[in-house]
């Protein structure tokens, strides 16, 4: 057994060594991510080569079942692959809401037909998904979503508005929370549906962020026809699917806490000894968080984690990432604050500003603390 694992590690290491292009082992920026999709284009040939190599082994989704095209690795082997990839700083070959969020929910709640239809294109990076949860009136209080889906016999007609929909303007499909029973208590009248963003009546409008980028949109639905077969899980019980998916989303976002500050520490003790102290204390937390993340992933993948623990991880990881960017800005001074000029025009400042969203997206820090207090610590509600 352990011999098998040692053998697997050896083979994996050798395989990565010969298949991961050197360029794909360099630190990546948001622009370097490959998101796939109908209009997905590779930034360069190394990215394409890496993606295709990983896909050939099902390793865009290493632990998904092989019957849909996944890698079929058990938790121990999936962990070895993660460790070996991180050892050479290999980039993930594919970034995808389909992989991080929808896939796990479909594997648990989807029908066999839905899995066969949706999972292979996610694994192959052919369809890019976006998340239609938040609305202007439903943020932290997500269960108050007002987008309506009216039953028209063999289909629904969806009307309403979503907001903060990341990459809605680039996505092919959306997974969406809609109200199917307006008379029921708010958590019990929501359904989880999927539809093509090309369906008539869907439109998007990008929103410009403090970072200057526009990764997310307002998304409008105007008499959008959605087939009945696109319901995931039980009618009116979409909240269960929504929460399960959020657990995976939070797990994914918590990985933001894995970044380091080491690159900018040269000469720091002479320039700013207090900053050095702050960084040293940060390094302690960052190292502890890496251990915590490893432990949590092991528990999570083995189905042993408390279902609300992803909230703790998300809170700790995102607050840590914000602290990291504050330190990076502080160490970088005016150079880091530069918005134009140079080769990396404004990259530090943009990354710093982007990090502020970490403790908002996927449920705010305050909401995660509420969840931990109630569901893990069993503190009374008001």
């Amino acid at each position: 057994m352990t011999d098998d694992l040692t053998q697997f590690r050896k083979e994996t290491r050798a395989w990565l060594q010969s298949n991961c292009p050197l360029q794909m082992r360099e630190p990546q920026t948001d622009e370097d991510l490959y998101w796939g999709g109908r209009d997905g284009a590779f930034a360069n040939s190394a990215q394409k080569q890496w993606f295709e190599a990983m896909l050939s082994r099902g390793w865009t989704t290493p632990d998904w079942p092989t019957e849909y095209g996944g890698g079929g690795l058990d938790p121990e082997r999936a962990k070895i692959l993660r460790e070996e990839m991180s050892r050479i700083n290999a980039r993930p070959p594919l970034s995808s809401f389909g992989i991080w969020m929808l896939g796990p929910a479909l594997l648990k709640y989807g029908t066999e037909e839905q899995k066969r239809y949706h999972l292979p294109p996610i694994i192959r990076g052919e369809i890019r998904w976006c998340q239609g949860y938040s609305e202007p009136g439903a943020g932290s209080d997500l269960a108050s979503v007002a987008t309506r889906a009216e039953d028209k016999g063999d289909h629904w007609v969806v009307n309403g508005q979503k907001i903060w929909t990341s990459y809605a303007n680039k996505a092919d499909w959306i997974f969406c929370l809609v109200r199917t029973d307006p008379t029921a208590p708010k958590h019990l009248g929501i359904s989880f549906v999927l539809f093509d963003m090309r369906t008539p009546g869907v439109s998007t409008r990008p929103i410009r962020l403090i970072s200057g980028n526009s990764p997310f949109c307002e998304t409008f639905f105007d008499d959008v026809v959605v087939p009945k077969g696109n319901l995931v899980g039980t009618l009116h019980r979409g909240w269960d699917v929504a929460k399960y998916l959020l657990g995976h989303e939070r797990e994914m976002i918590s990985a933001m806490g894995l970044g380091e500050v080491e690159s900018i520490t040269t000469g720091i003790s002479e320039i700013d000894p207090l900053l050095r102290s702050q960084m040293a204390l940060f390094d302690v937390r960052a190292a502890a968080f890496r251990a915590c993340s490893e432990l949590f992933l092991d528990e999570f993948r083995a189905g042993r984690a408390h279902p609300a623990k992803s909230s703790m991880m998300k809170y700790v990881g995102t607050e840590l990432n914000k602290a990291r960017h504050e330190l990076l800005m502080s160490a970088g001074g005016f150079e880091a604050a530069r918005w134009s000029g140079g080769s990396d025009a404004g990259a530090s400042a943009q990354a710093w500003l982007r990090s502020k969203g970490n403790s908002i997206e996927g449920g705010t820090s305050e909401v995660q603390l509420n969840i931990v207090a109630k569901r893990i610590l069993s503190l009374p509600s008001t």
Binding site: K79, S277, L281, V284, A287, A288, A291, C292, L377, P380
Partner: protein, 374 residues
């Protein structure tokens, strides 16, 4: 291998918690304190720790031990922390054992079986000042016909007054490689002054006045003694960190129970969001520290080249998390938390001492920055 405990470790955890919860809960510590017990520990409990195998985790099987690892030793240490049990286990069964099992001479066969049985107690005399500084060794060991003569002092040594064996760091001259000597407490030329710390634990200042130590009492490891000293320190730092996690758990359990029970303004105080968020934040801090300690234990057991770094992280973050746990603990108990009668204050006092023991957060963060190259 997953980082979480395997089935046998989980069983050991149940056994160790069950044992200390039953035989040495906080009232046990309070009893020793109130009786001004001169030993500061219960010898009977120590013997039973031997019977239970708690002293044996790190002792190799050929020396009468269980040949387990730092994960297992830490599980026991955590159970001690939860109950604030006064015990020489950390210095003896973790620090002492790591020191003695590296000895290439008779010290190993002479002492390890007696530690395994819960007979011998070992103290680590490694500090000379009020803050942890194991590299600052001015205790002088001069060559002598039969071995060495020691002159100088060690300070704040836990359990030294009841120890059978003292492991003492010394140097032959300033800047020389450190030496480790295993000296029995009765050796001529040793005087001790024993005092109580805020947590009621007993520590001693030890004077060495022309103390003659024979060659056979010099701890001779296969490689250099400096490396062994680092190994001992890694082990006790991670052990103390495990104890701090147990302590933080004990403090949190009491505090969260109080938040659920205590009513003000007609509702449980735990329904106030200001307290809920602080409680949830605290929980996250302790989970962070728990994982770091587990990771460090694994790295020590695996003999990883990065183990010192992991030990620093574990001790730094565990000290911080436990400190937060007791500060929030006392505050959230209100007036009752300030009373001697309530246990939460005992957790605060013990956390202060343990946070200091073998290096506090700043000490380790500073070292981590240095090894990280800045």
């Amino acid at each position: 291998m997953p980082l979480y405990h395997d089935d046998e470790q989980t069983m050991l955890q149940d056994t160790a918690r069950g044992f200390f919860d039953e035989h040495a809960p906080v009232s046990h510590m309070r009893g020793l304190r109130d009786a001004k017990d001169p030993a500061g520990i219960a010898h009977e409990l120590w013997r039973r720790c031997g019977e239970m195998g708690f002293t044996m985790a790190l002792i190799p099987e050929e020396d009468g031990g269980l040949g387990l690892g730092h994960v297992e030793a830490g599980i026991v240490q955590e159970a001690i922390g939860r109950n604030l049990t006064p015990s020489p286990l950390l210095a003896t069964a973790i620090g002492g054992v790591v020191a003695l099992r590296a000895a290439t001479n008779d010290l190993r066969t002479e002492w390890l079986p007696r530690i395994a049985e819960g007979v011998a107690i070992v103290a680590l005399a490694l500090e000379e000042g009020s803050k942890h500084a194991p590299d600052q060794i001015t205790l002088k060991a001069c060559k002598h016909a039969d071995g060495f003569v020691l002159n100088g002092a060690k300070r704040f040594v836990p359990h030294a007054h009841i120890a059978d064996l003292l492991i003492v760091s010394a140097r032959s001259s300033p800047g020389a490689e450190p030496m480790l000597l295993a000296v029995t407490r009765e050796t001529t030329g040793i005087t001790m002054r024993t005092q109580q710390l805020a947590d009621a634990s007993l520590v001693s200042d030890i004077e060495f006045d022309d103390t003659v130590v024979e060659h056979s009492n010099v701890l001779v490891p296969p490689r250099d003694t400096g490396a062994l000293l680092e190994e001992i320190l890694n082990a006790v730092r991670v052990g103390a960190a495990a104890e701090l996690i147990g302590l933080a758990d004990g403090a949190m359990e009491r505090t969260f129970a109080y938040l659920r029970d205590r009513k003000q303004f007609g509702v449980e105080i735990g329904s106030f969001q200001a307290l809920q968020h602080r409680a949830a934040h605290l929980y996250g801090e302790v989970e962070l520290a728990r994982a770091a300690v587990l990771k460090a234990q694994r790295e020590l057991d695996g003999g990883s080249g990065d183990r010192s770094r992991h030990a620093m992280v574990a001790k730094a973050i565990a000290s911080q998390a436990a400190t937060l746990a007791v500060q929030e603990g006392v505050q959230m108990h209100g007036g009752i938390g300030m009373t001697d009668e309530h246990d939460i204050g005992l957790f605060m006092k013990r956390a202060r001492v343990l946070a200091e023991l073998y290096g506090d957060t700043n000490y380790h963060a500073h070292r981590l920055a240095s090894v990280n190259g800045y």
